[in-house]
Symmetry: C2
Subunit: 129 residues, 2 copies
C-alpha cells in the first residue's frame, strides 16, 4: 500500500529538507548527503519523487528546489512566500483565494488538478533591516 516505511535514502532526504528552513535543490541535497553515502543525482531525484507522491515535500517551481511540507491538510493547495533576500520560504494556505482561482478558470470549463502559487518578495525580517 501507500503505507510503506520510508527507505534510508528517502528518510535522509526528508530529514535534510526538514532541518532546512529554506528550499534546497536536488544537487544541494546531494552535496549535503555525500557523507551519508549518496553519490549520484538520480538517487536524490528518486527519493524526491516518492516523497512528493506521499505529500511529504513540495517542489518550488520558480526555484527548481524542494521543501518539506509542513501542512496539516495536504488536500488543500499550498502556497509559498519566498524571500528573495534571505531565501526563507513560508508555506501558507489560502482556502478563499483557492476557490476564487478555481472558479475563475472554471468559468471557461477548465478543471483544475493542481495549483502552483509562489509569491516572491521580502520577508518581515529582511524588510525590517
Amino acid at each position: 500500500m501507500s503505507e510503506r516505511k520510508l527507505t534510508r535514502n528517502q528518510q535522509l532526504v526528508l530529514d535534510r529538507l526538514a532541518a532546512s528552513g529554506s528550499a534546497l535543490t536536488a544537487y544541494d541535497l546531494l552535496d549535503q548527503l555525500r557523507g551519508e553515502g549518496l553519490r549520484a543525482p538520480v538517487q536524490v531525484y528518486r527519493a524526491l519523487e516518492t516523497l512528493g507522491q506521499r505529500g511529504l515535500i513540495h517542489r518550488i517551481e520558480s526555484m527548481n528546489a524542494f521543501i518539506a511540507c509542513c501542512a496539516h491538510d495536504h488536500q488543500a493547495a499550498a502556497g509559498f512566500a519566498i524571500c528573495d533576500d534571505c531565501g526563507e520560504v513560508a508555506e501558507f494556505a489560502f482556502p478563499a483565494s483557492e476557490e476564487g482561482l478555481r472558479s475563475e478558470v472554471g468559468k471557461a470549463g477548465f478543471e483544475t488538478r493542481h495549483m502552483t502559487v509562489e509569491l516572491h518578495g521580502r520577508c518581515a525580517a529582511c524588510a525590517g533591516r
Copy 2:
C-alpha cells in the same frame, strides 16, 4: 529609455511566441528560428530577458517555458491555466484572489513583489472528449 525599438532577434522571438498558442521553451524557439539565422541558446535567452523586462512575455515556471503576454493591464498579476493534455495555456486575471493572496502573506509582514500562479488541469475542449 524603455521605449527602444525591438531588435531583430527580439522581434523574431516575440513573433514566434505570439504565433503559438502554447508555451515554448527557449530551445523550442531556437530550433524554430534557426532558419532566421539564430544559432545559440544565449541569443534566445537574451531576447527573452529583454521581452520579459518590458512585460511582453511571461515565463511559465512549471514548464520552463515562455508565452506571449496578452494582457491589457500588465501591472496586474497574470495567472495561467495550463492544459496538461493538449498544452494550451490561457492567461487570466484574478484581481480579487490577487488581493486575497497578497493580504494573506501580508499578515506575516511579507511584501509581495511578484506572483507565480499556474493552474494545471484539463481544458474544456479536452474534457469534452
